[in-house]
Symmetry: C2
Subunit: 399 residues, 2 copies
């Protein structure tokens, strides 16, 4: 197409095509020990429950199982989600505010599509989920990162930026066990963030794919449960059931529901009715999700501990990990030698271990001496072997 | 969010939220005789074949069935699609050019996202598929309609517009049994359109959801099969298997493949691996798709004939239908009295019959005296009853 190659290339670059998905894809065909992807392991997939549900749905002869669903979602699933987020997340009045999406990734695309004009300000944690950067960047905003510490986004720093004149349209956070930092936003900061959003007129996007995967400590109330908060809450079944179903959902403030539905209609008409019915069938099975999630918490808790032990055993003084209370990610600083994270990740790949350099999650550079380690995929024994290999990579790099 | 309501509302309006999906949704819960939606009827859904495939996939224990798929698509499905479009559509060198999408609707969103800047020109048939308008309009182009006659888009008229200085980025056509007109673009016009695209540097988007549903006449070679054509070919399993799986695909020119993949990654990461594997299982079953599609052709052919007979019986002199050779749609002009299509559709709804006024498919107004009738959902007896009711609606309107 005449004269468009350069602009298309620029737009593609803005969407930050990344080594990360290629690493994940490669993991399927190569005997990598991968700590790269934030994905569930095969043993977390409920094959049998899904087989039962699929058999029953397809034997029912109900055309709705295979027909276009309403754009906002299969009505049965939507009802279950309303009840779930009211009970579990503490969101009041969720009826009429749920939109089913193709994972929460699509919700990020849709909200950015309806809210952002080029040059608008979007605030994110720094480091942040690269998929969010990618979804948002497509609409050409100015993305501003706010530092993260052990209690999540530094909301005081954000407050100062607002006082200095920053006027964001939205603020994106993974409040529970963030990707990539593993940090959980403290209750006090959640309250403050909701208040800042209300005061300064920006939308808080609370992305919560990992919230049910807590293996230590107590749940922290959701930002979306704060009174008067203007929050878009995003949930997903990618981590609690299976990513391959592409079923997630948004609970939107009332003013945002119809824009999201119209944008979704323009984007893909509707999410898969079959997959929505599958998820609904699991949610309807008394106790099933609680039992399944309890098993996942045990699995990831064991693996997080095993990774901590393996890092302590093989990498003390070289990598300083944090200690997440749930989710899939440990964030670690490189504390030895003049080794940068990209070089370390490449050296690890030569040992068939995949880790992700912190630079992948940066907004404006930085994190050259940090790495993200996902403990979701490997067994404790494999995590030990992987850290042994990371130590070998360090040995090579430091001569 | 401060000051955004007005702009968001404008953007939503540009995406043309429509009565059409609401009609389709309503059809699920009300005893309507619906000729509104271009959707397969329940008896077209391969429940048993999908149940077998789902059972086998979920019993396999293969993690790829439920894991994130590569963004461009499940490798097994992609290989099958490459072979299919080379054999059936006549596209040469499709390897490396296929991107699986959430129906072809998502492909429209993605190509508009990477190609269009506000104010760019997008050419469409007039009347055209309203979902395409919606997908494209989100990126704020100038949409220019080219008239349609019995041989599809009037390519001579387009050529004249180009000579007069029109500089489109893309031209969208449904070449086979178009939605809404039912018209098929002639072989000569396809050849000419491909040449115009090459000469004037615009992308031809050939959306082909209905191409396999021919019940009369001979296939016409695809635009994408023309030598040297810069064509994005879109296929879908929504009409040949089931819309509720949300599996479609694009075959892109080489320069457009990576932009589409990166845009899809930003939008929803990947389409459902489970649903992609289901479709692949059906395609891999020797003869299954041919047998199934043969049955669909017979079904829709009978219904198209039944609608024609029913209209001749009940509505001669009032509605003048065209005679599609395939697909799901008949387009009809109102030839009696001072009745406009919106009024007629409303009067029909009062008789529990859903039809769509032509105005829904307009670019810049027009089609106030045309209606679209989909014959896909109703049985021959129901089509007769529906046309009897349309005649009753006419009687009321004309006193």
């Amino acid at each position: 197409v005449t004269g468009t190659e350069g602009r298309v290339a620029g737009r593609v670059a803005a969407m930050r095509p990344s080594m990360l998905r290629e690493l994940v894809a490669a993991a399927g065909t190569r005997p990598l020990l991968t700590l790269a992807g934030g994905v569930p392991p095969p043993e977390a997939f409920p094959f049998d429950a899904l087989a039962d549900a699929a058999g029953q749905l397809l034997a029912s002869g109900d055309a709705g199982v295979l027909q276009y669903a309403p754009t906002e979602g299969d009505p049965g699933l939507v009802d279950l989600l309303v009840a779930d987020v009211e009970r579990r997340v503490g969101i009041t009045g969720a009826g009429g505010r749920v939109v089913v999406t193709a994972g929460s990734q699509q919700a990020l695309d849709l909200v950015a599509k309806v809210l952002l004009d080029p040059g608008d300000v979007a605030v994110v944690e720094c480091p942040t989920y690269v998929g969010a950067l990618r979804a948002i960047a497509a609409y050409e905003p100015r993305i501003v990162g706010v530092p993260v510490d052990a209690d999540g986004m530094d909301v005081d720093a954000l407050s100062q930026m607002l006082d200095d004149g920053l006027r964001p349209k939205l603020c994106y956070v993974v409040a529970n066990f963030s990707n990539p930092s593993g940090a959980t936003l403290s209750a006090k900061r959640r309250c403050r963030l909701a208040a800042l959003g209300a005061e300064h007129g920006f939308l808080v996007i609370e992305d919560d794919p990992y919230g049910q995967l807590r293996f230590r400590g107590e749940d922290v109330p959701a930002i979306a449960a704060e009174d008067g908060a203007d929050v878009l809450y995003l949930g997903s079944f990618s981590k609690t059931v299976a990513p391959g179903l592409r079923v997630g959902y948004a609970v939107a403030p009332p003013w945002l529901v119809r824009p999201l539905v119209v944008a979704k209609q323009a984007t893909d008409l509707t999410s898969s009715s079959f997959n929505q019915r599958l998820v609904a069938a699991l949610l309807e099975t008394p106790g099933w999700l609680d039992r399944h999630v309890t098993g996942l918490r045990r699995l990831y808790g064991e693996r997080a501990s095993a990774l901590a032990v393996a890092m302590d055993t093989h990498l003390a003084g070289r990598l300083a990990p944090n200690r997440p209370d749930g989710g899939m990610f440990t964030w670690a600083a490189i504390t030895d030698g003049p080794v940068d994270a990209v070089t370390l990740a490449a050296a690890c790949m030569a040992h068939d271990v995949a880790i992700v350099p912190g630079t992948e999650f940066a907004v404006d550079g930085g994190f050259e001496r940090d790495v993200r380690l996902s403990f979701s995929v490997l067994s404790p024994a494999e995590l030990d072997e992987a850290m042994r290999r990371v130590a070998a990579a360090f040995d090579e790099l430091l001569g």
